[in-house]
C-alpha cells in the first residue's frame, strides 16, 4: 500500500490499466493475487524511479516501462549482471605461444 500511494505517479486506477497493458505486451502472468499485488507495487516503484532517472539524466535519454519493469533491482542484478569485474585484470595464467599468423 505504502508503495502504491507513495510511488504511483498515475492514479491507482490508471496504474492498474498501465500494468495490464504491460502484462499483455511482455506476456506476464502471476501465480496468485498476492504475487500480482506485489508485482504491481514493484511496477509502480520502477515507474517512479524511471521518472527520477529522467529528471537526473544530463543527456537526451528517456526512461520508463521496459521488459524489466516488474523486477526488483536485486532480481534484475541476479538475472543480468555478471560477477563484478575485478579492480584490475587478473594476470594471465598462461602465455600464448606465438603462432604463425593466419593459421587456425
Amino acid at each position: 500500500d505504502y508503495l502504491l500511494t507513495k510511488d504511483a505517479g498515475p492514479r491507482p486506477l490508471e496504474l492498474k490499466e498501465v500494468f495490464k497493458l504491460f502484462q499483455i505486451q511482455f506476456n506476464r502472468s502471476y501465480s496468485n493475487p498476492a504475487e500480482y499485488t506485489r508485482r504491481l507495487a514493484i511496477f509502480a516503484h520502477n515507474l517512479a524511479q524511471a521518472q527520477r532517472l529522467q529528471q537526473e539524466d544530463l543527456g537526451t535519454a528517456e526512461f520508463g516501462e521496459t521488459p524489466f519493469s516488474d523486477l526488483t533491482e536485486e532480481e534484475f542484478g541476479q538475472l543480468y549482471g555478471h560477477q563484478r569485474a575485478p579492480e584490475r585484470i587478473p594476470n594471465m595464467a598462461k602465455k600464448v605461444e606465438s603462432q604463425e599468423w593466419g593459421e587456425s
Binding site: L58, G59, T60, F63, H82, Q83, G102
Partner: protein
Amino acid sequence: VPPTCDWRKAKNIISSIKNQEKCRCCWAMAAADNIQALWRIKHQKFVDVSVQELLDCDRCGNGCKGGFVWDAYITVLNYSGLASEQDYPFQGHQKPHRCLAKKYKKVAWIQDFTMLSRNEQAIARYLAVHGPITVTINMKLLKDYQKGVIKATPSSCDPQHVDHSVLLVGFGKEKAGMQTGTVLSHPRKPRRSTPFWILKNSWGDGWGEKGYFRLYRGNNTCGITKYPITALVSLPVKKLPISCPP
C-alpha cells in the same frame, strides 16, 4: 577520427540482437559478437560463432553464472577457434555442459586479444579503423532505459562498478533540439549537440532502441573506458577492404 561511425550500416557485419534470457552470459555474447564482426570485416566471410562453446569450455566453468570477456578469448585460443552456432547452439541452461569444442570444425579463430587505452578518442579511432570492440559498463541505468543518449555522472552511475559486457558498434553526435518536446523543456537537458556511443546489448530487440542503446561520449559514462577489449583477427592489413560507413 571520423565524425561518425556505425558498423550496423555495413552489410552483414553486425549479427542480429541476441537474448541471454536467464543465462548471465553477456560476456560470452559480447566476445562472440566481437570475433564474428572482425572475422566478417577481415575475411569477408559470414560466420555465426558459438556462444555455448564459450560457456561450456570456459576455464572457470561458471557457465550461466557470469564471467569475463578475457576468459572468453582465452577459451578461443585454447581450443584453436570457435565452432559455428549451428553445430554448437546456445542452450542458455543454468549448469555448464561438458565442453564439446573438440568435436566440431572451427569456423573462426583469433591470434590474440588486447585491451585498448582508456581514452575515448583512441577507442573511437580503433573502432572506426578495425571494427567493433567489447566494453564492460555499470548497467545500473539500463533497467529502465527506453531510448536516447544516457549521460551520467560518477554519482549517478559509478564508473568503477562495471558489471555488464556489451559490444561497441559505433559513435555519432545527436544534434541539439532533436529531443522530444518534454525533454527540451527540462532545464537539465543539453542545448548543444550530444556526442554518443552506440552499443549492442544482449537483452533482446524488445529493449532499448531495438536492442541497442546509446551512452554519452566523452566523460567515461558508466565506466565505458575501464575494459575496452577486442580480439585480434588475421594479419593487420594496410588498407581494410571496407571502412566504417559514416
